[in-house]
Every structure is written in C-alpha cells, then in structure tokens.
Amino acid sequence: MLKVLDFFNYARSKSPWIVHFCSGCCSLEMLASMGPRYDWERYGYIMTPTPRQADIIFITGLVSKKILPALLRTYEQMPEPRYVVAIGACAYDGGPYNDSRSVIKNMTEILPADVFVAGCPPKPEAIIAGLEELKEKIKRGEPSASSQGGLWKQMKF
C-alpha cells in the first residue's frame, strides 16, 4: 500500500533542485548538461541560486582549502533532506591534483557523497545518469550519507 510519506519522497524525487555552487573545472560540464544538447531539465533538475530552496549540492571537482568553509556553509543552509553529489576524480581523492599543496584530498570523508560520478571531467551523460541514481535513492526514502557522519561536523564554517 502506498503510504503518505512515500508519496512525499516520490514527489521530491521528481524535481530535485540543485544549488548553484561551483568550486572547480567540472562545473563546465555541469554547464554543458544544462545546455540544449543534454538539457537536464527534461529530467526535472534545475539550478537555484539559493541553498534555502535546494535539495542537492554538487561537489564540482576540486575543492581547495579556501573554498571548503564556503561549501560547508552552503551545505548547512540547505533544508533537510539534503543530498550530496560528488563529480569528478578530484572530489574522490584529489584526482590530477593529488600532489597539489592546496587541494583537499579526502573530500568525501569530510562531506560524504550519496552518488559519485567518475571522470575527469565526467561527461554530461554521466552526470545525468548519476543524478538519476540519486533519484532512486530519494524515492526509497533513504537518509543521505552526509547526515550520517563525516568530518564536516568538526569544522568551523
């Protein structure tokens, strides 16, 4: 039997809003997936400039030390339930910047992601496929990974 709460999850999964936050080069491919050829609005995704109305935040590739507090602050301003999508090799382990002195290498330890899209940068198709996977998770009503833990709770921002 369809429960009322399930209905909310279903409705939420059909139109996830994504906060406009870019910290790295993968945001260019995000722009491409917004563009006419890939057009993620077909699937119900839309960018919103304010975190207060957003369901999803992207970790767009590299996160430098200086932008991390801003990223966490944006994340904290989002209403629950909030989900994190990590795009690109940098979000996983620093990727090509693994040796760099100013890039965070354990981003998903700090802010655990629900979906990770591989690639450097991932193609727009891959980003949309990753978001579709997240939709399923939202539909099932699973709690987001970042609400379960992560180093972000120990940090000031």
Binding site: H20, F21, C22, S23, G24, C25, S27, L28, E29, L31, A32, M34, G35, P36, R37, M47, P49, L62, S64, K65, K66, I67, L68, P69, A70, T74, P96, Y97, D99, S100, R101, S102, V103, I104, C120, P121, K123, L151, Q154, M155, K156, F157
Partner: protein, 549 residues
C-alpha cells in the same frame, strides 16, 4: 632594440644579450640599481610589467627574481634578472609597483609563495594562498609539506577564523553611519566563479572593490615540479578548461626550446586548428555569460549549443571533450588517421555557427537594450592598457594592436594570413563585439590551416599518421625558456627552468591574463552603481582557473 640595450649597458650588468626576435635578456648585478633601471627603461618606452617570477636556487642559496617587461606597442620585450638572498630576513628587493602598476598583484603573489619582500609596495600582504600558509611560503624548495598536511582540520578552521575576523573588523571600522556597508559578491555568486569581491558600498554607489582570490588555487606551478615533462601537460591544461589547448601549446614550446627540437609542419598546423577551436569554445561561453550577467540566458544557451559542435571536434581527435591533453612536447599527441572525417566534423561546426550567425547578429549583437546598458560603460583607454597590462580581447577592444600570434608568431601562424582585429571605444559593448569578431577570425584561420594540411597531405609532404610527434629526449639539459601564446583571454607567458639531466621541471611560472583583468576591477567599477557590477565583471571575461592557478 639598440636603445634598450644602450640603456641597460649603462648599468652594472652581468650580461646583456638578444633572446628570440623580440626579447633582450639581461642580468643585473646589484639589486639596488633595480629602480633606476626600470626608470630608464620607462623612458625608452618599456612601460609594462608582464609578470614577476622568482626561482628558488636552494643549492646556491639565492632566489633569482625574473622581471618580464614589455613595450606593448613597439613589440620589444626585456627579461631582467636580479639575484636576492635566500635568507628570509634578507630576502627583499625594491618594489616596482609605484613605477609600473601592472606589477602589483604579481609582486604580491611572489611574496606570498616565495617570501620575497618588496620594499615600497603600497600594500604588501599575503595574497592568493590560504591562511594556513601565511609565513610559510609554500613554493620554496625546502617547504615541509607533509608536516603541514597533518593538521588539516586546524588549517581549515583557521581559514574560517580569518573570514570572521575580517567580518568583525569591517563591522567596527565602517560603523552604522550613512548607508555604508561591505557586501560580499561571491564566492558562490552564480554570475562568477569562485571569487569573492568585497564591495564597499554607500547606498547604491560602489566606493571600492577589494578582490579576495585563491578559491581555486591549486598550486599548479608547484605541482608540475612533481610530474615529468610529459605528465606536466595534465597540470598545465587544467589552468582553465574553457580554452584547453593553448596553455599546452605554450608549455610544449618552452620544453621544445630547451631541448632544441623543431616540430614538424603538420604538427604546427594541427596546433593552429586545435588552438583556434579551443579559442572559439572559450569565446562562446564568454559572450554567452556576458548576456547571462545581464539576465538574458537565451544567448548563453544558443552559444552552448554551438559550442557542443566545436567540442565534438576536440572529442573526435582526442577522445575527451574539454580535458583533451592533446598537445605535448614534440608535436600533437595523436595521429590523424582519417583526416577527411575529422575535417568534416570541423566543417559541421563551422556550418552550425554560420547558420545561426544572422540571427545572433539581429537579436543579440545589435540588441538595443544591451547597447543602452553597455555602451559607454566601463571605458579603458590605450593608456590604461599600457599601465595595467590588459591583454587579449580586452586590449583589442580599446584599439590596441596587440596579438602574440602576429607579434611573435608561433606554431604555423607565421604562414597564415592574419590581421589585428580591433574595436575603438573600449567600453563594455566593444568587449562583446571583439569576442564575436575574433570567433570569425578563428574560423577563417581554421579554414586556412585545414587547406594547408590538405595540400600537404595530397602532395605527400605531410604524413598525418607519422608526423604528429617527434622524439623528445627523456632527460632535459639545463636551461630556461620563455614562451608566449595568445590565449583566449589574452597573452599567456610561461617561464620554464630546468636543471641538467632532469626529468621534471625545476620551476614553471605561468602568467595568465585574468590576474591583471581582476586587478583593474577596482578602477573599473569604483564610482558606478551596484547593478553595474555583474555587467562590467562579465565584460572582462575573467576565469578563476587562470586567476588563481
């Protein structure tokens, strides 16, 4: 050139010699003479500082500071070297910023990363680096990175602390009189990338803009030191993905110069095609976001559609859309197995652009609403170009005839028919027009290069499956080189230093145009109103990737 040499020879120099066709390379013996040298160079027309690049020679206990000075309109360049002591306390030199304002942020960057103190700099402060590096100078060879990494969480917290302190300080100093406040424009503003403009406003009027940068600082210049010469292209191309091939061309040229190798004509023409396709892809986003900042997203969407076709060109060749890694020292990375099919893809992209060109002209370029906002707004004169070293499209919009492709031809540009593209007024509208004109110019260049390659292959002079790459030595001799290319946003200069039998760069300085373009924002926007910020910011075509590196 002779006059510049004459001037330099008056001082106590270790050597003064010619370098390439447009450069004079000199080394100053005594660092106290620096200001006098700069003053006399200014008298003979060398008025602009391109960048300042220190090199840390830890074994010889010295830091060599390289100044790249340019006479923009007469195409004469000076590469001046000075030694300073490596010791943190004695590591200081006179600042040239009072004489050449274009050196301002470059000096701050050198100070923050190498600890060279610039005496007499109007506002010497830590810059670009995040606050956990304050006083530690991360680009020095003896910096202990592993020890630094252990306190990650404290380091991050110190960055937040700095922000809160700054916030409190502003609250106190500004007070609550009048309508003064400090507005944070960024770091997550949708119209910009990650950059924070501290906008000091009084009501609607902007009094001052203080840019806080370093949000995408990846320490690329330092990162390449841990990669080999070919692997470095991965770091170099990531300076900015909007125009991906041109930084690799710049870096590869520097490596080839040190190795003393000449690439094949086929590879040269391939570099032209790839470079111009990258330029178009970048310009399309620039022009689109110019309208985007005014609140009209349609043009951006149209441009993204056209851009996809140009990205197809890169994807067909290299397999990647924007991170192509397609150019490496010695030529271009991949052979062209089926050149006709690839040329068809290029032709398809050009046809796509030309099919919507008339509509773009009518709807956007001649748009009266855009004109009424952008015309006469944010004017740069030729004098500003020289003083702050505005490069590329921004300079050409003001009528400056500057283009590295013509001034110091590289790749195959010397054999192609290319002219300066300029506008006259130097206002925000012209900075859109110039972008549009340059796309047309690039398409023309691509067509010319395609024709040359076709002719070469048909006559048997070029072999597209074998000529793409020449053999490069695995170990480089000691040397240094300066290489320049015309990047989508302006001149890119790279200074590469190698040591004997090395497998990775000893030092690579990347000079990118957005630094200067962000530097002038204060001059450009002060006195305007709040609503002008997105428009004028958008008209500068700034990319944070190359601003921070």
């Amino acid at each position: 050139m002779d006059r510049i040499k004459e001037v330099l020879n008056k001082f106590d120099m270790e050597y003064v010699e010619d370098y390439k066709s447009t450069w004079i390379k000199a080394k100053l013996k005594n660092k106290n003479d620096l200001l006098k040298v700069i003053e006399s160079l200014k008298e003979v027309g060398v008025k602009t500082c391109s960048t300042v690049s220190p090199t840390d020679f830890i074994d010889e206990n010295r830091i060599e500071v390289n100044y790249f000075l340019e006479d923009l309109f007469n195409k004469k360049n000076v590469w001046l070297k000075v030694d300073v002591d490596r010791d943190l306390e004695k590591c200081e030199i006179d600042s040239i910023t009072p004489l050449m304002p274009s050196a301002d942020w470059h000096e701050l960057e050198s100070f923050s990363t190498f600890g060279v103190k610039f005496k007499g700099h109007p506002n010497l402060r830590y810059f670009l680096i995040s606050s956990d590096y304050y006083g530690k100078f991360p680009f020095r060879k003896d910096f202990d990175w592993e020890a630094h990494e252990q306190n990650l969480i404290e380091n991050i917290n110190s960055i937040s602390d700095e922000f809160f302190e700054d916030y409190e300080k502003n609250e106190k100093t500004i007070g609550h009189e009048e309508s003064k406040t400090v507005l944070n424009w960024g770091p997550t503003h949708p119209a910009s990338g990650p950059i924070r403009l501290k906008v000091f406003i009084n009501g609607e009027n902007v009094e001052k803009i203080d840019a806080d940068i370093g949000y995408v600082w990846r320490a690329l210049e330092n990162l390449v030191e841990r990669k080999d010469f070919v692997g470095s292209i991965v770091a170099v191309e990531r300076i900015c993905f909007m125009d991906n091939p041109n930084p690799m061309i710049c870096y590869s040229q520097a490596v080839e110069e040190i190795a003393g190798k000449e690439i094949t004509p086929f590879a040269k023409y391939m570099r032209v095609i790839l470079g111009e396709v990258g330029r178009i892809a970048s310009h399309l986003i620039s022009a689109g976001s110019f309208f985007g900042t005014m609140g009209l997203q349609t043009f951006l969407m149209w441009n993204l559609d056209i851009r996809e076709y140009f990205l197809d060109v890169l994807e067909d060749y290299s397999g990647a859309r924007i991170a192509t890694a397609s150019i490496e020292p010695g030529g271009v990375r991949y052979p062209l197995n089926d050149y006709k099919a690839w040329f068809e893809t290029i032709q398809k992209a050009i046809d796509k652009f030309e099919s919507v060109k008339a509509d773009i002209d009518d709807i956007f370029i001649k748009n009266p609403l855009m004109s009424s906002r952008a015309k006469g707004n944010g004017i740069f004169t030729l004098n500003d170009v020289e003083e702050y070293y505005l490069a590329g499209p921004i300079a050409r919009a003001s009528g400056a005839k500057i283009d590295v492709r013509i001034d110091e031809p590289y790749a195959a540009y010397g054999e192609l028919n290319i002219n300066y593209v300029t506008c006259e007024n130097g206002d925000a509208r012209d900075r859109l027009y110039i972008i549009y004109k340059e796309i047309m110019q690039s398409i023309d260049l691509i067509k010319q290069a395609m024709k040359k390659i076709e002719e070469g292959i048909e006559s048997g002079e070029m072999n597209p499956t074998k000529d793409h790459l020449i053999r490069m030595p695995r170990r480089m001799p000691a040397g240094e080189a300066v290489s320049r290319v015309e990047w989508a946003r302006g001149e890119m200069l790279m200074h590469l230093v190698t040591t004997d039998k090395s497998t990775s760069p000893y030092r690579l300085k990347m000079r990118a145009p957005s630094v200067n373009h962000t530097m002038v924002l204060n001059k450009l926007i002060s006195g305007k109103t709040l609503s002008d910020i997105p428009l004028l910011y958008g008209s500068m075509h700034i990319c944070q990737g190359d601003l921070d590196r």
